[in-house]
Amino acid sequence: MSEYTVVGQTVARVDAVEKVTGAAQYGADIHPPGMLYGKIVRSKHAHANIRSIDTSEAEKLPGVRAIITQDDVPSGRRVFATDKVLYLGEPLAAVAATDPDIAEEAAERIKIDYEVLPVVQDVIEAIKPSAPRLHGDDTKDGPNRREISGQIRTLSRDKENDHSDEISKLEAELEAYPDEVYYNISAESHTEAGDVEKGFAASDVVVEDTYVIPRVHQTYMEPHVSVASADSSGKVTVWASTQGPFAIRSGIAGTLGIPLTQINVIGTTMGGGFGGRFGVIITHVPAVLLSQKTGRPVRVQMTREEEFTDGRPAPGCVIKLKTGATNDGQILAREALAFWDSGSVSGASIGSTIRVRGVYKIPNLKVDAYGVHTNKSGTAAYRAPGAPQAIFAGESQLDEIAERIGMDPVKFRLMNMREEGDAVPAGGSEPKVGYKETLEAVADAAGWWNREADENQGWGVAVGDWTNGCGPGGVYVSVHEDGSVRIFHGSMDITGTDTAISQIIAEILTVPYESVTIRRGDTDSAPYSTGSGGSVVTFTMGNTAKLAAEDAHRRILELASERLNTNVDDLELKDGAVHIISAEQPKSISLGELAAYSLSTTGGPIVGKGSFARQASTPALAAQIAKVEVDPGTGRTRVLKLVASQDVGFAINPMAVEGQIEGGTVQGYAWAMMEEMQYGEGGNINPGFVDYRVPTSADLPTVESVIVEVPAPNGPYGAKGVGEPPITPTLATMANAVKDAIGIRITELPIKPEKVVDALKSNGR
């Protein structure tokens, strides 16, 4: 049995009733008196010069209160496109009207004169010299060219010695790499450890393949929405559906040049985020501008179609990956070259390409990654940003190696996994993590060791790692005269984090979970809090909550010591009351009595404060096994079994943790099998849930989740962030299972029926 009474227990979420009854207030439920409806005017072309924008016809429409373009952005920071649009749906203007239909009609009446330009949507096409160029100055040399140019520059700077011979030799060498100049490059990232060439040379088996992962949308249920209200004093209030109200506040302040504390951001209940709900310009800034111009509150709400054309989805990418291993199963080298589809602006999570190293001892590693501009909207985070893509490549290729050397895929992974103290390729030394425990747990739970498969059935395994982030946060705890506890903070509840915070505080103050309530403040009232993304909240706010509760605990004992006339060291807080430990004179006083007493003391009421910002996090592992059956006639794949284990450190609320494991796994399954934003010359061609498929409950059996607990030294009670890891291995899990079922490696996602049928055909089946 656990030594704890509230943490480690499954309790009902603090928001369960309001969610189930519909009382929760989402962004679109906010309707201040006099509110106007905003509508963003969007480009109808994926790449075009803008000759002119004529708003005159729209202005004549009764009910139109304001039309704004980039000319109305006093700071000059780019909110709307002016002379050029780079993707279908790019904002050009915004309208505010008394009615949503009028706003929409006004938007239609704005005449935009386009000069249509050639479009590039594929990253491999975009890096070619022949590709249309989205920005003027974005050409980057290839890695070899850059290395050589770097050497030339270094030598040229040395004025004291003559390097002319070396320089001309290098210049000749530079000429040898004309094809490795990449165009439309937005960013790059390079990592190297050891010597991959030596590693490949020493390998018995070398496998090389190219993996293609599509751009997918976070598909949160609630589209982006904000309601802004600017008053005559210049104070701006924004009701924002966001993961990070404080980030939105500073984002609006920075974009529009408004003093930080003249902006109050009120976070509304979030209808899902998954990393995609941090955008500032997407709806919040236009709403503020429209409200400033009209003097009335304005709501800007995206439709689902707008979410697809102008959301900030997860980037697709192409990863060329090469792995070398010995016949006895030792991985010696891995090299990756990745091109990430950044869309029209930089920002794709290219740094995550390093995740191809996995949790393995790979002595030689080289990773080169580029962000590439295409005629799409920009990208943002999606649940472990970049990791599912890189891990899909890495874990798919591991199975190919295992097959060639004739080793069981689980055993192959176990033998290569890093242990405590091992070097992390290009990244320091490994802490204690339950890598092997987690993989063994899923193998045992799934029945891997005595697995059976009929014809066209197969089993796949994969693991994925992720480390939670950490950020600043503050929490206040008050104890009231009735003994109840109130928590006040500023972090958005995501995945049940308010519940976890409440459990931690109930545990420390030894009160029933039910007597704790939690309230989130806005940015005017609450202490600063980091955004709810990157699996940070339970780690950060859990620690913060612990500090606050411990602070309150100290004050409680102090008050009790006064009241009971006993030394603090002889007191114990237990079951919601303070007791004198030496039982000769059993005496106790309840929290309520102490709270009432505190009101007339010099020290004052019981208020605990916790503030926390940084501590080293510990990696987490998700390991999954799927059993599938492929219909070779239609190419459809059915999942027969899906088991997911995860090292969560410590499960503060086991049911909530299982919910995260199931949800992440299902999203990974969807990415592997059906989700894909499709693009044509004109832009996104499947901007809705008819042709952008997310699975329903009929597509999957119940995901069996297995909780593994290897505590994180700095996590509250040992907890790690649990939200992101479970999506990381599923893409590869599915591809590996399909490979096992039909003997064909699908390297391009999603694994749609047509792809399977075509692959079977080209393999002569």
């Binding site: 239909d101 179609e305 006639g633 239609t634 459809r636 099998m673 059906m674 499709q678 044509g680 061609i685 499947n686 008819v690 042709d691 498929r693 699975p695 329903t696 009929a698 597509d699 749609k752 029926p753 047509e754 049928v757 075509d758």
Partner: protein
């Protein structure tokens, strides 16, 4: 949504008169038209609801034949014992439309009059040899379902004509519908195949194959049907029927899949659908 005039006539004649005007649209269940209006792909000036006209909904059985009112909810078609038993392919097709909530609103008449080549009830009606009854202010007429469609979204209906019911004659002894899709439920048909067969002493006496989403209109695979008639259903014959059906269709490539894949699936699924229909006929 663009503003429009809304009418709720209580007689077919009145509905027909209103519907004969330009830019008029009928509202049955609303599951297609309302979405189109919200997306501005449909911008009718007049919307005429059929919901207040009595007698347009309901399934009635008369001896061997079944009549389905055009305003009958798809869910009712799906759950009708008579249709499940005698026109299994139609019940199965109905069960593939959208979600239960959608099927509780959508009507079979709307599903057909919308004239999508991918409609889920159409293949089942094709293999049932359904007659489509049509009314207008000028009178009534009836056309066979395979003569109703002229192109995507296009039918032989003239201004003012309204589908009132589908009449299904004596059923085949076994039928089946298969929809090729990605998602298990709530997906659109990549293709749809229905087959209905009569067996007599191990010989196929009649066979009908209906194909959806493989041509500008839903079609019958008549060449494949002819191959089957009068023969014993051997695996080789079914394979030949599949190949013949595939050869006879003219699918397009779109964002869902390629024309080639659709054609291949016609081959595979025609064989399978026939097998299931034959099993039912034998049972």
């Amino acid at each position: 949504m663009k503003s429009f005039e809304f009418y709720e006539p209580t007689t077919l004649a009145e509905a027909s008169r209103l519907f004969a005007e330009e830019h008029a649209q009928l509202l049955a269940g609303g599951t297609d038209i309302i979405i189109g209006m919200k997306a501005y792909t449909e911008t009718p000036e007049t919307v005429i609801s059929l919901q207040k006209i009595p007698g347009l909904a309901g399934i009635t059985t008369d001896g061997d034949s079944i009549s389905i009112g055009a305003m009958t909810k798809v869910r009712e078609v799906e759950l009708s014992g008579d249709i499940q038993q005698h026109h299994t392919a139609l019940a199965e097709g109905a069960s593939e439309i959208g979600s239960i909530q959608i099927r509780n609103l959508a009507t079979i008449g709307g599903n057909i009059a919308h004239a999508s080549p991918a409609a889920d009830t159409v293949a089942g009606l094709l293999v049932a040899d359904a007659q489509v009854d049509i009314a207008s202010a000028d009178g009534e007429r009836s056309v066979p379902i395979d003569e109703l469609f002229t192109g995507p979204g296009q039918t032989v209906l003239t201004p003012g004509e309204i589908i009132t019911r589908f009449r299904l004659p004596k059923p085949a002894s076994g039928s089946h519908y298969i929809k090729h899709k990605i998602r298990e439920v709530m997906d659109l048909a990549f293709i749809g195949v229905a087959a209905a067969v009569n067996l007599d002493n191990g010989t196929i006496t009649d066979a009908r194959i209906g194909l959806a989403a493989v041509a500008p209109t839903p079609i019958r695979a008549t060449a494949a049907e002819d191959l089957l008639k009068g023969n014993a259903p051997t695996p080789a014959l079914l394979e030949q029927a599949g190949e013949t059906a595939a050869a006879g269709c003219s699918p397009i490539s779109d964002l869902r899949c390629s024309a080639e894949h659709r054609r291949e699936m016609v081959d595979v699924l025609t064989r399978r659908t026939l097998q299931y229909a034959l099993e039912r006929a034998r049972a």
